[in-house]
């Protein structure tokens, strides 16, 4: 875990320095230190545009990317644990699509009654409604089976994406906003985005960690958990709600970013075992690392900025195929 923290911090500093204007890592550290300690002296002798680039442009974007990546990965862990299904994540369950639909609706109707929070709120409502619909559809006799869940997720997501297309059709001049937002991007994030995301993810993470042991028991089946003293109904509802909040805020800030919640928990489970008390923080760090890396790649390395959602889907899609194949055949390939 400490290795991950160090690597993440390193990437964090390196990534802040990279881009159209190159800033040496030492200068990045100085600027951040200067802001934290309140002494502007270290800026002396530095290109005066550096602090502005770091503080107002890059840091908000980088922090949001890392937070969203970590948040999505944690959600993946929780959804997989509760639904006893290694293929569950906000994207495959349609929760992301639901949040996107809610957010697109808010953008289209120009709802700003709640100011900054109206888009996230609509995204959350969309996410919860979708999750409910998916679980309702797949809950037949004998609990929530893998196939039913993924199938229902796909059906609901298909309906929702048709809904989103319709919204785009009627959107007129806002269509560009919706489309760009849906593809997912961390460009032009502000400190208020960072604060909102951080607050939601921190509260989500504390819920996940508090119920870490229950989540372990529930990943053995709800009856087993129940006979070991877990109030399964209550814990399931709390965890699903918390995971939906986190997923919704991630989507509302960054658009649909697929497969992070699938890829990261899987890899981490392979490396560190299935104990959710370790898996949640580890996945947070690894998810942050992955998405920050991907965002830095599209922002500073590639000649053209590709939407981040496209990039993660290109990496994550084949991985999903691999996991699915392995699960359905029991073989490595």
């Amino acid at each position: 875990m400490s290795t991950l923290v160090v690597v993440l911090f390193g990437l964090f500093i390196a990534s802040t320095g990279m881009g159209y204007i190159q800033i040496p890592p030492a200068a990045v550290l100085k600027i951040i230190w200067g802001q934290l300690s309140g002494h502007p002296d270290p800026f002396a002798g530095m290109n005066e545009i550096f602090p502005v680039v770091v503080m107002d442009v890059r840091l908000p974007r980088i922090l949001t990317a890392a937070l969203v990546g970590g948040g999505l990965a944690m959600c993946g862990v929780v959804f997989q644990g509760i639904l006893l299904n290694p293929l569950a994540d906000p994207y495959t369950l349609g929760v992301s699509a639901g949040a996107a639909f809610g957010a697109a609706l808010a953008i289209l109707m120009n709802i700003s009654a709640l100011g900054l929070y109206s888009v996230p709120l609509f995204a959350f409502l969309g996410a919860v409604a979708t999750l409910w619909a998916v679980i309702y559809l797949s809950a037949g006799s004998g609990g929530l089976s893998s196939n039913n869940l993924i199938l229902s997720g796909i059906i609901v997501a298909a309906i929702l994406s048709a809904g989103i297309s319709f919204l785009k059709y009627v959107a007129d001049e806002q269509v560009a906003v919706i489309i760009f937002w849906l593809m997912g991007s961390f460009a032009s994030k502000t400190w208020s985005d960072v604060v909102l995301t951080a607050a939601c993810i921190a509260s989500g993470a504390s819920v996940f960690l508090y119920f870490g042991r229950e989540l372990n028991l529930m990943s053995l089946g709800s009856q087993m958990a129940s006979s070991l003293g877990v109030d399964t109904r209550r814990v399931t509802l709390i965890l699903l709600a918390a995971a939906s909040v986190v997923a919704a805020v991630c989507v509302s800030v960054a658009g649909i970013i697929g497969f992070v919640g699938l890829l990261v928990p899987h890899t981490m489970r392979l490396l560190a075992g299935p104990d959710n008390r370790r898996l949640v923080p580890l996945s947070f760090l690894a998810g942050a690392l992955l998405l920050l890396g991907a965002d830095t790649l599209t922002r500073a390395v590639l000649p053209v900025e590709i939407p981040i959602g496209v990039l993660t889907a290109l990496i994550g899609g084949p991985f999903f195929c691999y996991v699915f194949r392995r699960q359905s055949t029991g073989r490595v390939w």
Binding site: N85, R213, S219, L220, S226, S227, G229
Partner: protein, 257 residues
Amino acid sequence: MSFELRDVDFCFNGKKVVDGVSLRLAPGRFYGVIGPNGCGKTTVIDLLCRFRSPQHGQIRYGGQPLGAYSKRQLARAIALVPQNFYINFPFRVRDVVMMGRYPYIPRFGRPSGRDLDIVAEVMESADVAGMAERLVTELSGGERQRVVFARALAQDTPMLILDEATSNLDIGHALRLLDLAARRVRPESGTVLAVFQDINQAAAYCSHLILMSRGRIAAHGDTRAVLTPDTLREVFDVDAKVYHDDYAHALHVVYKR
């Protein structure tokens, strides 16, 4: 602490699967439940574990309604070895057995020396100590059943419920685990209730038998009094001979083809 069921009904999809069951389960006894497939055995267990609630009637434990206990209190009172279970996540055998101690360990606490001792002891006695570091996802059905058995023993409860817990086991391990269960029977503080398919195994271990048929209790009482050709014909519709076998020191049943 004893269990008391009074006039318990449970309906599933409009069909009565448990129909007017009244029972008293007292400490110091090994109860066996036998009956044809679908006669409501597992549902009765679900009711005892509070996985389901009866639509009619009352279940009391130690004089209190079952609903008055918290989940954690129940987990310290009743341990269950279920009929079948699937584990999708690669936990280690040792960790799964340790989960039996969770009802005693504070939320963010570490297992105490006593917890570790109990886990080591039950793993040894259930013959799973040799696979402590293996992943449960890689075990065979019988091996997994032994792991879950060890986990239930680690829970160290006055009530132990086995739902066909030896169905996947070879005869050596089946007898070994039933012996372990029988050792949990203590006057005042230890009750075992086990669902059996094999009537001879039930006869060998149980002091009392409960015969179920179509959601009702067809007969219950002392094994010697209940296990007769007549009750077997009534419940299972078979012709059987029941005799005392000197080698097994137990009643034995043989059937006519």
